[in-house]
Amino acid sequence: MALERWFRRSRPTRSDDDTSPAGLWLKCESCSAQIYRKDLVANLYLCPECGHHYRMPVDARIASLADEGTFERWSGRLAPTDPLEFVDTEPYPERMERVQQKQGRPDAIVSGAASLNGEPIALVVMDFFFAGGSMGSVVGEEIARAAERAAAEDRSLVVITASGGARMQEGALSLMQMAKTTVALEELTERRLPFVSVLTDPTTGGVTASFATLGDVILAEPHALICFAGPRVIQQTIKQDLPEGFQRAEFLLKKGMLDDVVPRDRLKEALGTTLRLLRGGAKVSEPEESHVATV
């Protein structure tokens, strides 16, 4: 628990993990209903009136998916450095220290072992409230290690993504995490262990363009923004309005890019069933020596 202390919040804060405005009550950004904050939290961060999906803090996410008392944390022993000596409006190390204090962890990711409806999994959850869930060396390494350890321990891999993309402050090293995470997934492929990717709001840039869309099964939460280039970038490029619902989960489901859009209160069940079915094969054929024949 020494690690927990290392990243102990300097002062108790109410809603660091919370995108909604302060106060006991808030107005739903989708249906405008008055919501009692405790009801929102108790309801998996779904609006009790309209079901609007608010961004969910990591701990709540883990609690909502892992069978009670089964989550054992793997991550937390890796911390970012400042290989580029990057300074924007403030030096990168200072930015990181501030976010580490706020979020109580060394970087934008938590991984660990769990069981999910009895299925042995490695659960990886990205923290959008930590520097926009951006992927630098630590996030990439934690994902790679989780994939490799899952393979070694005969677990399926479940990743809940939420990320603005690659972390600019680590430059091309961040870009390389796209390749690193991708090659680490091969360990699972070789052992024919499932990788299910769950895309939540928002999943963009280098995360979408690497491991996130390499799931054997790709699920998404309702209305989640999922894209390579963000809507603003596209708008600036083409100088046109974007179609209604563009880059949202439902739109991408229609375009054939997702296996399903699953509301949060049914996600655990959907994952459990999917994993059980994927792993329930008779394994009639040996894995091909080379899995490269088709893409």
Partner: protein, 320 residues
């Protein structure tokens, strides 16, 4: 067209030309003076290019007249046979693919192609691929594996195209798939960043056993302009962003992201394209020779290990 910092060089070159003309017209012997100026010119070029800021290198990487993918294809390889189309959506002119020979050996070439003039730039979409381009590249990876042909990729793109159709057709999905497919090649693969290595759109064909970069080329997670727009809310801060991003060949070598930097002729590849392309040809032959004895399994494992290692972080001591 010249770059701002090239002006003193071009001025001096003009002066030498004038002096030569004058000497001829007047039938005077100015050989000594001209030789002095030429020596000064070489020093000036060397000094200028030694001291380029990162932003200036970005400008060299994008300079008009810098050899493009197709220039390399014509100059470095023999008998290029272009192969079109992704068999699904169409044929993306921003990526040129096909078969060719290098030193008598067949291989697969995949080149990102910017235009050499406005008309070609529009046709090539400024080297920004749609999903179709990455699908075409993946088809080439299949072909390479099937026939045991080495793969050479030439990277030169501002990035994958950010447009409506590109997103609808799964730009992120095909980039991820291309990264994965390339990482699975069982043949030698060499990537050369010849100009701009723009983010995921570059990495999609950059998962090679050896990654080379030209001295004045860049490879970055984001363009300096976009980075500046996000961090300082002002694209005019691009020079500052270029410094911060450490995107030059030398920086990338230090970060172990590239394996080898190929020297350009003094003054940059755009001032002497043939010399730059020759240097790439020599480097490619050497790299292919070095990989020739490797087994498919070695090539696959080696490539995976190369990318698995990348990143900088610290392990926290649990007792701290």
């Amino acid at each position: 067209m010249s770059l701002p910092f090239e002006k003193p060089i071009l001025d001096l070159e003009a002066k030498i030309r004038d002096m030569r003309t004058y000497a001829e017209e007047q039938e005077m012997d100015l050989a000594e003076e001209i030789a002095l100026l030429e020596a000064r010119l070489e020093r000036l070029k060397a000094q200028t290019f030694e001291r380029l800021t990162r932003w200036q290198r970005v400008q060299v990487a994008r300079a008009a007249g810098r050899p493009t993918g197709l220039d390399y294809v014509a100059h470095v390889f023999e008998g290029f046979r272009e192969l079109h189309g992704d068999r699904t959506l169409g044929d993306d002119p921003a990526v040129v693919t096909g078969l060719a020979e290098l030193g008598g050996e067949s291989l697969v070439v995949i080149a990102q192609q910017k235009g050499r003039d406005t008309k070609e730039n529009i046709h090539r979409n400024f080297g920004m691929s749609h999903p179709s381009g990455y699908r075409k590249a993946m088809r080439m990876f299949d072909l390479a594996d099937k026939f045991g042909l080495p793969v050479v990729t030439l990277i030169d793109t501002p990035g994958a195209y950010p447009g409506i159709a590109a997103e609808e057709q799964g730009q992120a999905w095909v980039i991820a798939a291309s990264i994965q497919r390339m990482s699975r090649l069982r043949v030698p693969a060499i990537a050369v960043v010849i100009g701009e290595g723009g983010s995921g759109g570059a990495l999609a064909i950059g998962v090679a056993n050896r990654v080379l970069i030209l001295e004045n080329a860049t490879y970055s997670v984001i363009s300096p302009e976009s980075c500046a727009a996000i961090l300082w809310r002002d694209a005019a801060e691009a020079p500052r962003a270029a410094e911060a991003l450490k995107l030059t060949a030398r920086d990338l070598r230090e970060l172990e992201i590239v394996d080898r930097v190929i020297d350009e002729p003094i003054g940059g590849a755009h001032r002497d394209p043939a010399a730059a392309m020759d240097a790439v040809g020599v480097a490619l032959r050497a790299e292919l020779d070095a990989l020739r004895g490797s087994t498919p399994e070695d090539l696959l494992r080696g490539r995976r290990a190369r990318f698995r290692r990348l990143g900088r972080f610290v392990e926290i001591d649990a007792a701290a």
